[in-house]
């Protein structure tokens, strides 16, 4: 059974239809990529899935449960969350505090207003583990604002991990990352546990084809083609619509 499903998902902004009748099914543990030319409505789909936007019509199901009406933080609690295309981090906090927040929130300590942060060893143990796993140890006391861009991208993904997300929506994780820092980022994404389902939105075709085991192509807000990377690469319509436009751009 699919872990994440959408049924006829539609979003209109006034007269503009950003997402039209998208029906998607993403299998548990999949590495699913959502691609499409600029303005195809990829980010709108992510916003709909994560709950930032509410759909005009259609429904979203997570593990069979209708989550269409839930707020973003409730969806994160259920195990589905996102990273952001442009870093959306807490610039005044350190990586340690940032990860601490996510861990505390998941372990139900987020509303605790009396004890100090880090007074529970279960929480600090896990924070330490995540900081080490995502190679943030050397910068963990720095303000996030002054971290190199690649480290900030890592922190974005570390945050998703800290939330123990079972469905991860990655919105262009490699956008703007310099070549030198890209390898570390890709290695980290590749090392995500196999039972984590990943929906990747990405422009970089090298990343998409080296990472995804299934690809959906979105054009003008509608689902155009879906299949294995090999199928999609062979599909003449995709070449015409997508790769043609890509060359122009």
């Amino acid at each position: 059974m699919a872990i994440l499903e959408t049924k006829n998902l539609t979003k209109r902004f006034g007269g503009i239809v950003a997402t039209a009748d998208v029906t998607l099914a993403i299998e548990k543990g999949a590495r699913h990529a959502l691609i499409g030319p600029n303005g195809a409505g990829k980010t709108t789909v992510i916003n709909l899935l994560s709950g930032v936007l509410k759909p005009t019509a259609g429904r979203i199901f997570l593990e069979g449960r209708d989550i269409t009406a839930l707020d973003p933080h409730q969806r994160v609690r259920l195990g589905m969350g996102r990273t952001f295309q442009i870093n959306q981090l807490f610039l005044d906090l350190t990586p340690l505090e940032t990860i601490g927040l996510a861990v505390a929130e998941r372990l139900g300590a987020g509303a605790d207003w009396w004890r100090q942060v880090g007074s529970r060893s279960a929480v600090t143990g896990e924070i330490a583990e995540i900081v080490e796993r995502f190679r943030l140890g050397d910068v963990m006391h720095e303000r996030t604002a002054i971290l190199p861009y690649g480290k900030q991208r890592l922190l974005e993904i570390a945050l998703a991990f800290a939330c123990r997300l079972r469905v991860l929506l990655l919105d262009e994780p490699a956008a703007g990352v310099p070549e030198a820092e890209r390898y570390e980022l890709l290695a980290t994404i590749a090392a995500l546990p196999a039972d984590v389902t990943v929906l990747l939105i990405e422009h970089d075709m090298d990343i998409v084809f080296s990472f995804a085991d299934r690809i959906s192509v979105l054009v003008n807000g509608t689902l155009f083609v879906e299949g294995t990377p090999a199928d999609v690469a062979r599909d003449p319509r995709v070449k015409a619509v997508y790769l043609g436009e890509e060359l122009d751009a």
């Binding site: 994560s50 709950g51 930032v52 707020d71 973003p72 933080h73 994160v76 609690r77 969350g81 996102r82 952001f84 959306q88 981090l89 807490f90 610039l91 005044d92 906090l93 340690l96 505090e97 940032t98 601490g100 927040l101 996510a102 505390a104 929130e105 998941r106 300590a109 987020g110 509303a111 605790d112 207003w113 009396w114 004890r115 100090q116 942060v117 880090g118 007074s119 060893s121 600090t124 143990g125 924070i127 330490a128 583990e129 900081v131 080490e132 140890g137 963990m140 006391h141 303000r143 945050l159 800290a162 939330c163």
Partner: protein, 347 residues
């Protein structure tokens, strides 16, 4: 626990440790009881203003909620504590103080649903509107509140039945200082807790906060209510120490002064309101002696100066001062300061 986990744990402990600056601050605050006995009346006003400013700092400095209506909570609790004392409903001042705070908190909780929608400008307007409405209600029901003449005939019983309020303000000052300290301790616990950290996250980026499962709206309602409680305590203290309450407790000026105090002291490190209140009160007092008629000119002048000098950010000012004070105190105590992240740059 691994070595690294132990490091992480000790980092968080160090983060919340009392710095030498803080210890020195409170020693000096309590020493003022014996150092300046003839200044107790103005010090009482200062302590009340400090607590009031602390309440605004909790929402402005930590959660990023700007408000021009803190006077609503201050005034409501002020009248409440005056009325219960006048009609002998709650005679114990400490109990009356806590009840007044709770009444203000209730108003904070209810109005939070109006205030927390929308942008900064909306919030300014809604908070202002709530305070103005409350002021007019107090004016309208003059049979109860005394209207423009103020609430007369308030007699506050001795604290714990033992400590009588005196006309020199000695008892009042000690009382206010202790209440301020207790409230400060609670506020300090809050800001170093996971809840407090999540507020800073919400202030920094609400969208992102929701994406790591922080219930943004719920957190803002909670801190707004707590802030109203503290503002209410401050208002009740004013009524109890002066045995009087008038319409100006609900005035716009009172809320605006509060923003001024926080701009002077800086936001987001708890001491801004306290230091700002001391500077503001004594500056006002000093300038009023020099030019009794035009003191507001100089307050305005100072405000413009402060904002221009620290115009990058309001907090830039407090970081520079904090760094300076930390250096000063640590030199005096010849000890390394524990305030790790104070900005090294100063003018």
């Amino acid at each position: 626990m691994t070595q690294f986990a132990a490091d992480v744990s000790s980092y968080f402990k160090r983060r919340a440790r009392w710095s030498p600056f803080e210890i020195a601050f409170w020693i000096f605050a309590f020493a003022s009881i014996w150092l300046f006995p003839q200044k107790h009346l103005i010090l009482t006003e200062t302590a009340i203003l400090a607590l009031f400013a602390l309440s605004l700092d909790l929402i402005l400095g930590y959660a990023g909620i700007i408000s021009l209506g803190q006077a609503a909570f201050f005034g409501l609790a002020g009248y409440f504590s005056g009325l219960v004392a006048k009609y002998g409903l709650i005679t114990d001042p400490v109990l009356a103080l806590i009840c007044s705070g709770l009444v203000a908190a209730a108003l904070g909780f209810i109005t939070s649903f109006l205030v927390l929608r929308g942008s900064d400008l909306t919030r300014l307007m809604v908070t202002l509107g709530v305070a103005l409405m409350l002021g007019e209600v107090a004016n309208r029901f003059s049979s109860l509140t005394g209207g423009a003449d103020g609430l007369q005939g308030v007699t506050v019983a001795p604290i714990f039945g033992r400590f009588q309020f005196d006309i020199y303000g000695h008892t009042g000052y000690v009382y206010c200082l202790i209440v301020l300290f207790v409230c400060f301790l609670i506020a300090r616990r809050i800001v170093y807790s996971p809840f407090g950290l999540s507020l800073r996250a919400v202030k920094g980026n609400a969208l992102r906060s929701a994406a790591i499962a922080i219930p943004v709206y719920g957190r803002l309602v909670a801190i707004y209510t707590v802030s109203a409680f503290f503002a209410g305590i401050a208002g009740a203290l004013l009524t109890q120490t002066t045995a009087f309450c008038s319409l100006d407790v609900l005035s716009l000026e009172r809320s605006a002064d509060l923003l001024l105090v926080l701009i002077i002291g800086g936001t987001g490190y708890l001491y801004g309101g306290l230091i700002g209140a001391v500077i503001y009160k004594f500056m006002q007092d000093w300038i009023a002696i020099l030019t009794p008629q035009y003191w507001q000119f100089w307050i305005g002048f100072m405000l413009v100066l402060i904002v221009l000098v620290g115009r990058e950010r309001m907090t830039g000012w407090n970081e520079a001062v904090r760094a300076f004070l930390v250096r000063l105190v640590s030199r005096a105590m010849a000890r390394k300061p524990a305030l790790g992240d104070a900005a090294p740059d100063q003018r």
